[in-house]
């Protein structure tokens, strides 16, 4: 590679890391200084981050939901998954992050079709929920949060509200899946005209999708696909449309980066 520093575009905002907080081994939050992103990001939007600024191996950026914003600083939460997130999770305070964003559409919170926001969270799917919680609070929409994790130590509870926790190992809260927990609430009818905002592993998303269908309630799911550009130019992040949507729009696929990352659960095939 030639010397990138000499030509790194403004668009790719080099941002200094001001705080690194370790939640659990391999799960960290990184706070960085970037006024544009901090001030313009809406709940549910994401940023595309180079694993290591100035290096083109790994070459592609990695997408991360914006976890929190305050003043001129924004925060992401990184789960060490493979090489890129492994490198990112080791980023030190004072180092530069190469961050592109904000990207994608916000959560659809101002629809008329619900009175209670049900946040359904699996693992690091929590990433976009603090921003969503803040936005819902501002609109004075009641929130119930069903948050599942493998084990107690992996919860990132900051900024969340009305928590109903579930763990796979029973180390905290409900022993089992957060979807089962939510189901029991829905069966009791104890949630007033709810809408589900779901983000988590594929299995949980599918469960949320059928749960919403079964109870006939609106549900929005935030998806993860691999991405190159994050801005709609590579066509690398397709999500398959439900047949009905395809018939209506003539589009077989939509792009997670620009049409999403969140979609109405009845419109797509997870």
């Amino acid at each position: 590679m030639g010397d990138l520093s000499s030509m790194t575009p403004v668009a790719s905002g080099l941002s200094i890391v001001t705080k690194r907080h370790v939640i659990a081994p391999g799960l960290v939050t990184l706070r960085f200084h970037n006024p544009h992103i901090a001030r313009s990001t809406k709940e549910g939007q994401f940023v595309n981050v180079l694993p290591k600024a100035g290096f083109l191996d790994p070459m592609l950026r990695r997408p991360f939901s914006v976890y929190w914003t305050e003043g001129d600083e924004a925060e992401i939460i990184v789960q060490a998954h493979g090489r890129g997130t492994g490198i990112l999770a080791e980023t030190r305070e004072g180092e530069l992050l190469d961050v592109l964003g904000p990207l994608g559409r916000p959560w659809m919170i101002d629809s008329e079709d619900y009175m209670t926001a049900v946040l359904l969270i699996g693992g690091v799917g929590v990433a976009s929920m603090p921003m969503l919680t803040r936005a819902l609070e501002r609109m004075e929409i009641p929130i119930q949060t069903f948050y599942g994790a493998r084990t107690k130590s992996l919860f990132a509870l900051d900024h969340l509200q009305n928590l109903h926790l579930a763990t796979d190992d029973g180390s905290e809260g409900y022993y089992g899946s957060n979807v089962m927990l939510l189901r029991s609430f829905l069966e009791k009818g104890s949630l007033e005209s709810p809408k589900i905002f779901a983000c988590g592993p594929t299995g949980m998303m599918r469960a949320a999708q059928s749960l919403a269908a079964e109870f006939g309630i609106p549900c929005e799911v935030s998806l993860e696909t691999e991405m190159a550009c994050g801005i709609g130019i590579c066509q690398g992040c397709p999500v398959l449309n439900e047949e009905s949507v395809f018939q209506a729009t003539g589009r077989r696929y939509r792009l997670v980066c620009t049409d999403g990352p969140s979609f109405k659960s009845e419109e797509i095939v997870i």
């Binding site: 668009a11 191996d57 592609l60 130019i233 690398g236 003539g250």
Partner: protein
């Protein structure tokens, strides 16, 4: 010294600078607009368009590799009718050149698409780039791109349908690019562009499945730059028409290597995915470089490789 003059002339068309964005790596212009000042580009080569819309391949379409990536997008595109109705008029608003890239599965389809665009041409449409080298659809023209005869026939056919720039985009997946460049020249192409992606693959060792939906896909990015440079140099030695160099360009320094090897213009591709304004950065970096080197016109270093006499003699 006066500010360097970056403009270049290809056939009868003058581009404000020799930096284009490569087909399939910049959409139809609208998508990247927020991140990139399109009017600072020499031009935009649009995503390959075919007669009918193409939905593209199912996931996974992209996989990262060492300093590069594999893609199997499958020529997802809106089809030529939407292209001339929405995309072309949109790009027409910008002060930059448009090169419409065409992909098809038969000579007739190539011609029909070209003639349909020609019939709806906008003022800044500079010409066409013919993609006969897409490795990740079975009917993406690679059958043309690997046959000198079919390349020459197709070029002759299309030449008859337009007076605008006709650029044939060559594949690197051949034993030698020379006969293809020569065939394009014989058939009246205004230029050749190279390289398209190299056939590559990646495997998930836990599921034993190919990581791409189509088993193999196209390799691009910095990893392939040395190969692209060698092929541009090869093409330069074997044909007389202008060459547009493509492959792994990220910085102005990368672009200069291509000019020296023999390219008259270059295209920036994969780099756009990392830096949406990579093309603009390369253009301004090029201006800086020329200033520092006291070079006034790009043509001064195009095809300026210094090869020692004894090597020339030895056939390098």
């Amino acid at each position: 010294m006066a500010a360097p003059d970056l403009s270049v002339k290809l056939g009868s068309v003058t581009f404000k600078n020799p930096i284009l964005v490569a087909s399939g790596t910049f959409g139809y212009g609208a998508e990247a607009k927020q991140w990139c000042d399109i009017e600072q580009l020499g031009g935009v080569v649009t995503k390959s368009v075919s007669w009918k819309p193409r939905m593209g391949n199912p996931p996974h379409r992209i996989i990262e590799t060492a300093s590069g990536m594999l893609n199997s997008i499958g020529l997802a595109n809106v089809g030529v009718h939407t292209f001339v109705k929405d995309k072309l008029p949109y790009l027409a608003k910008f002060d930059t050149k448009i090169i419409a890239n065409i992909a098809a599965s038969s000579a007739e389809e190539y011609r029909d698409v070209l003639e349909h665009i020609e019939a709806h041409a906008v003022e800044n449409l500079a010409g066409y780039e013919i993609n006969i080298s897409c490795p990740n659809v079975k009917d993406g023209g690679l059958s043309f791109g690997t046959s000198v005869e079919r390349t020459e026939e197709l070029t002759t056919l299309l030449r008859a349908s337009t007076d605008r720039l006709l650029i044939i985009k060559l594949t690197p997946n051949v034993t030698s690019v020379s006969p293809f460049a020569q065939a394009c020249e014989r058939a009246g192409a205004d230029a050749v562009s190279l390289i398209n992606t190299l056939v590559g693959m990646s495997i998930d060792i836990y599921t034993h499945e190919p990581r791409l939906n189509t088993v193999t896909g196209g390799l691009s990015g910095p990893a392939i730059k040395p190969i692209a440079l060698a092929q541009v140099y090869q093409a330069r030695k074997s044909c007389g028409i202008p060459i547009i160099g493509i492959g792994g360009i990220v910085t102005a320094e990368d672009a200069v290597e291509f000019f020296i090897a023999g390219a008259d213009m270059v295209q920036v591709g994969t780099a756009n995915f990392v830096y949406p304004d990579a093309g603009v950065r390369v253009a301004s970096g090029l201006a800086e470089f020329m200033r520092s080197q006291k070079i006034e016109r790009v043509s001064e270093f195009v095809n300026s490789l210094r090869v020692r006499a004894e090597l020339k003699a030895a056939g390098w």
